[in-house]
């Protein structure tokens, strides 16, 4: 197939830049070949890609062909595009702790306990799938009530909220007292 070098290279180039899968007919039209010849070229390219030192692969999707990476390469790609998880902010952790231990709870209640607005922190927690709306409270304004999610339980290895360990008030109080003392000293 040496005499078709240009078309083989052309087909590769087309596969590289096309955003959508290209059909045999479309490729044949651009390369000025018969569809049968395009099939031959495609299998020749695929044979070349079968080399373990090659990271590419031709996929057939909806009757079209597109270039992609071999499945074995996915861990490299994952490393390239890995987004380091943004740890939760202090405010978000506070809101999460309040929801975990006081649920079901409204935003007004969270704000009341924290003494500050919690809108942003609450939105982050919902977005990350750690807390969710679980209904509305009866009464004026029917405010949304929040609770923790399955994902929250999964992270802490809990089968249900009943297994949530009690707040260790002794320790919390001690830590809080220490923090207060330190602040008073300065």
């Amino acid at each position: 197939m040496l005499f078709r070098e240009t078309e083989i290279a052309g087909l590769e180039a087309l596969l590289l830049v096309a955003n959508e899968p290209l059909t045999l007919e479309h490729l044949a039209g651009i390369l000025e070949l018969d569809p049968a010849e395009v099939v031959e070229i495609l299998s020749e390219i695929q044979a070349r890609y079968d080399n373990p030192a090659c990271g590419f692969m031709i996929f057939e999707v909806n009757g079209g062909f597109k270039l992609g990476t071999k499945p074995e390469m996915s861990h490299y790609i994952e490393t390239l595009y890995h987004q380091p998880t943004q740890g939760l902010s202090g405010a978000a952790l506070e809101v999460l702790a309040i929801i975990a231990y006081k649920q079901p709870v409204t935003k007004g209640e969270i704000d009341f306990l924290r003494g500050v607005q919690s809108d942003r922190a609450l939105a982050t927690l919902v977005e990350k799938g750690l807390t969710q709306e679980i209904g509305r409270k009866e009464g004026p304004g029917r405010p949304i009530i929040y609770g923790t999610t399955e994902q929250f339980l999964l992270h802490f290895g809990l089968r249900s909220l009943k297994n949530l360990p009690e707040l260790d008030f002794e320790r919390i109080r001690e830590a809080a007292k220490k923090e207060l003392d330190e602040e008073n000293e300065t």
Partner: protein
Amino acid sequence: MRFCLRSLVFNMEKATFSRPASYVELPAFHGPLDLLLHLIQQEKIDIYDIPIAQIADQFVEAVRQMEALDMELTSEFLVLAAQLLYIKSRYLLPKSPKEESEVEAEDLRQELVERLLAYRTFKEAAQTLSVLEVSSGQKYFRTVDIDEIRSQFEADDPLDGVSFNDLWEAFGHVIVRAEKGVEIKTVEPDDVSIDKVMDDVLRRVILYPHGTCFTQLIRGNTRMELIVFFLALLELLKMGKIHCEQSSPHQDIQLFPTEKAWEFTEGE
């Protein structure tokens, strides 16, 4: 602006015209400097020694032809034409202290030469780029939808590294803030409103569901503050939002939130 400039150019030209300009071929120019450079190169003139009178006339003539040919003629062409004629007139000016006007004309000419040289440099650079563009050839790249790639990976656990201890600590911060009761401490005792103190007390009672001591809840530096806190406590008891227990007469009184405790915040 445009008409005004043009009449200026041609009035000046009438006044100072000395000899007919030679005919010029007119390709599309990228501006007046481009045209001027073209004229200088066409006449094989040394750029450092431009005969202003001659070049000014040729420039004006070229602008006229461009106008006659209905070519795109921006105001910049007319401005430069006016400048050239002005320099020419300064050189020719018979009266006034001659030296002064010649010095001024020389400065203007020098400035024009420098602009022309800079323009010529960039025009050459543009030609170099054009050659590069052709020789390097046209190449194409893939546009990758990164979001789509990312969506194929499992999202990381946002709670990575967070333990129960961290949760309790966070809860502790809420308690610290409630204990500080910043707002209440800063107001003058006379102004301490009972509503604010009730919030302060209730907030702490709710945060300690296993009970909090009476002595811990009541705080204040003055007799007045202590009284207000005590009144707030009584009011909350009366409203049924908290209840108290005392295991024996000499033990500290413990206060607990009731089911009705939350109703307080519902109005907000």
